[in-house]
Amino acid sequence: MNSTPYQAPDTAAKTQAGLDSDYQAETDDLLGEKMVLNMGPSHPATHGVLRLILELDGEIVTKCDPDIGYLHRGDEKIAENMHYNQFVPYTDRLDYLAPLANNVAYTCAVEKLMGWELPPRGQAIRVICCELARIASHMLGVGVCAMDVGAMTVFLYTFTEREKTYNLCEQLTGARFTTSYTRVGGQVRDLPDGFLTSLETFLDECSQTIDEISNLLDRNKIYLKRMIDIGTISADDAITWGMTGPNLRGSGVTRDLRKDNPYLGYENYDFDIPIGENGDCYDRYLCRMEEMRQSIRIIRQVIATLPGGSVNIADSKNMLPAKDKVLTSMEELIHHFIVATQGIEAPAGEVYFGAENPKGELGFYINSKGGGVPHRMKIRSPSFVNLSILSHLMPGHMISDVPAILGSLDFVMGECDR
């Protein structure tokens, strides 16, 4: 009975292609005491298409080699071939767990290039969008992290809340997931009737759910055992690796662009920046929970102080004119035609705008040579930078900690790979 030696599919493919330098051979473990485990790109713990090549000594990870790019779509290159407004739907697909916040960050960057400032109502609506997106994103982050350590029920509770944010998005933008709500210089439309009422109902229900999740997890012995002192990132490390968002604040660094570099009138609202002490998974979880509570606080303040007036800037040459005027007046028809075909006329220059997104600092660098399209656009995606610490963070942890750490870093591959 003869049998062919078994080869893993990717090894076999590499051998066939003549690439004999497979990853197993690259380890410095000549005795073969260590096992190389390929986790992903399709694995329940990797939330999408992250691939980790882990070198294991028993159950302990000795080396971690993240492999990204399975979701690369070339968004930055695509941006060079379209008008500024045409790129808005592509930003939905960056951090697809918080599309509203991406829309806002992108259009704010372009408006900075144009030198525009939104009227107060437009800014306030954008703040609502950002904080709603933050709640939605953190809900999923907390729930998925809990699911990765085994508490499946928490995930479904948080997803019920996310479902309600989908309903709000539908009411606000007409789409549940890919919102594409903002345009350069404003929003597609003003808040619909009854939106604020349903938003307030949502906020009340959401704070109850947050407390409920707190009760389930905050003092849960097993959860604490799985999260405390796991994936500890010191403040120095966090700054060195360029981490942002809750992952940075969990390590005890008070850095929040909404406070440090206020945009959209965030300086007018009263809110706290939660920070952690040890920088372990549990601190990051607590940070996210507290940030959701603060977001609710911010939205309540916005609702209380929502100014009237226009939501868009008053620049009839660069904004699409109202539909009834397009169909009745010659000049507006010409404007509509020009804006729709040539895009808004941006000045030459370069600009960087970073917004405090749920996952961290989402930055857009736009290099313009004038005209309707950017010469080059670079997206600084927080997930990409946050994930860079993995190879430093993973070694020494057990294989069961890998999902816990990945869950607590709360990344989105759509944004990481762009």
């Binding site: 159950e59 350590v149 085994g150 849960n220 097993i222 294989i399 069961s400 890998v402």
Partner: protein, 385 residues
């Protein structure tokens, strides 16, 4: 042939068929349904509520959904009809034998569980237990420890790193927790002074349940006659409660249920030891897991919660009834189902332990606690005598 032996063989055969195919297998099937329904209630979902009688297939206007009660049949049918894929890289013999090795021990344990007191057939009392042997719990441990082979073989034969990790974990976990499982039971056996499960249940029916001796043949806790006989039982409650906690937790570990479901934890090891299995082979693993859970519940009920006894001092009256033994079976099954629901409830409430934390809990906490517990029990028994 001697008519007595013929009678014994015939009644045993009937008992095997009835207990296995009429009681246990449907409970297993419906505990998968209960798992999904109870979890959906816990998680604010609906759960499977559609599979009923498909009358629309025969031209009627509406189906009869029965709240999805036919779901287990549909699941079983699906498992049978799916392609039984055996990957090219597995070790075939062990790959084939592993599911059977997992399911069989769990079913074997059913034979020593007393389902009810006894019924009279042709003027002869028939005990409602398949094998009334004097080594009850020892038999369970001997057989249940065999099921570790199934999981280890599955993990090893699959030739898959995730399955391998799951197999290694479960091997270590089940062996470790068997020790505290065995040790935690010793105080109970010391109190009863025997290993025959049906006699243990009988003495619980007379003297009050192990953990809730609120009533016995002398009356309930409110009667003076009760306290003349039963004061010492309440002192023994201390070690027996500790035993119960350790035993129940170890059963969770032994049956690979949450929070100890490390061998198959989906977020780390995808499917653990059954990653490469499909169709009926996978269903056998599934069946084995639920059978183990039901046998575990049955043993907990038998040892700690009075088995088939109803309590309230009514057991003698029920035994004297014509078919009182059958009523006892119903009481026993009700208790078992309550425990199965408890198992399900725990699974959907708590997170999962890490591998090293699990081993630490088993060897450092439970092992020592169970050991000390034996001495406490011995001390109390000595004090009382």
């Amino acid at each position: 042939m001697d008519p007595a032996i013929l009678f014994l063989i015939l009644t045993t055969a009937v008992k095997i068929v009835v207990f296995t195919f009429i009681f246990t297998l449907p409970i297993i099937a419906y505990s998968t349904y209960a798992e999904r329904r109870v979890s959906s209630i816990i998680q604010d979902r609906v759960g499977p509520n559609r599979v009923g009688i498909p009358l629309t297939l025969f031209g009627a206007k509406k189906d009869i959904p029965f709240a999805g009660l036919l779901q287990p049949l549909a699941d079983g049918l699906k498992a049978f009809l799916k392609e039984d894929l055996v990957p090219a890289h597995v070790r075939k013999f062990f790959f084939w034998i592993a599911p059977a090795l997992t399911a069989a021990p769990a079913f074997l344990c059913i034979c020593i569980i007393p389902f009810g007191s006894s019924i009279t057939v042709f003027d002869q009392p028939v005990k409602l237990v398949i094998a009334d042997i004097d080594a009850g719990p020892l038999f369970v441990f001997a057989i249940a420890s065999l099921s570790v082979y199934g999981i280890t073989f599955a993990g090893w034969a699959s030739n898959n790193k995730y399955s391998f990790l799951g197999g290694v974990r479960s091997c270590a976990q089940m062996i470790s927790y068997e020790i505290s499982l065995g040790l935690s039971l010793i105080p109970v056996l010391m109190v009863f002074g025997q290993l025959n499960l049906s006699d243990i249940v009988h003495s619980q029916a007379e003297n009050g349940w192990t953990l809730l001796p609120l009533w016995n043949e002398h009356g309930s806790v409110f009667d003076a006659a009760y306290w003349q006989n039963c004061t010492e039982q309440w002192l023994l409650m201390i070690p027996l409660t500790i035993s119960f906690i350790i035993f129940t937790t170890s059963i969770f570990a032994e049956t690979n249920r949450m929070p100890f479901d490390l061998p198959e934890c989906e977020t780390e090891l995808v499917g653990g030891y059954h990653t490469e299995y499909s169709s009926m082979k996978f269903a056998l693993f599934f069946l084995g897991e639920y059978a183990a859970m039901i046998v575990g519940s049955a043993i907990i009920v038998t040892l700690f919660f009075g088995g088939w006894s109803l309590g309230f001092g009514l057991d003698t009256a029920i035994s004297n009834m014509a078919l009182g033994g059958l009523l006892h079976i119903l009481i026993f099954l009700t208790k078992v189902i309550a425990f199965v629901i408890f198992f399900i409830w725990v699974r959907w409430t708590v997170p999962r332990f890490r591998y090293d934390q699990l081993m630490k809990l088993g060897w450092v906490v439970f092992f020592e606690l169970a050991l000390v517990n034996i001495f406490i029990t011995a001390g109390i028994i000595m004090l009382l005598n």
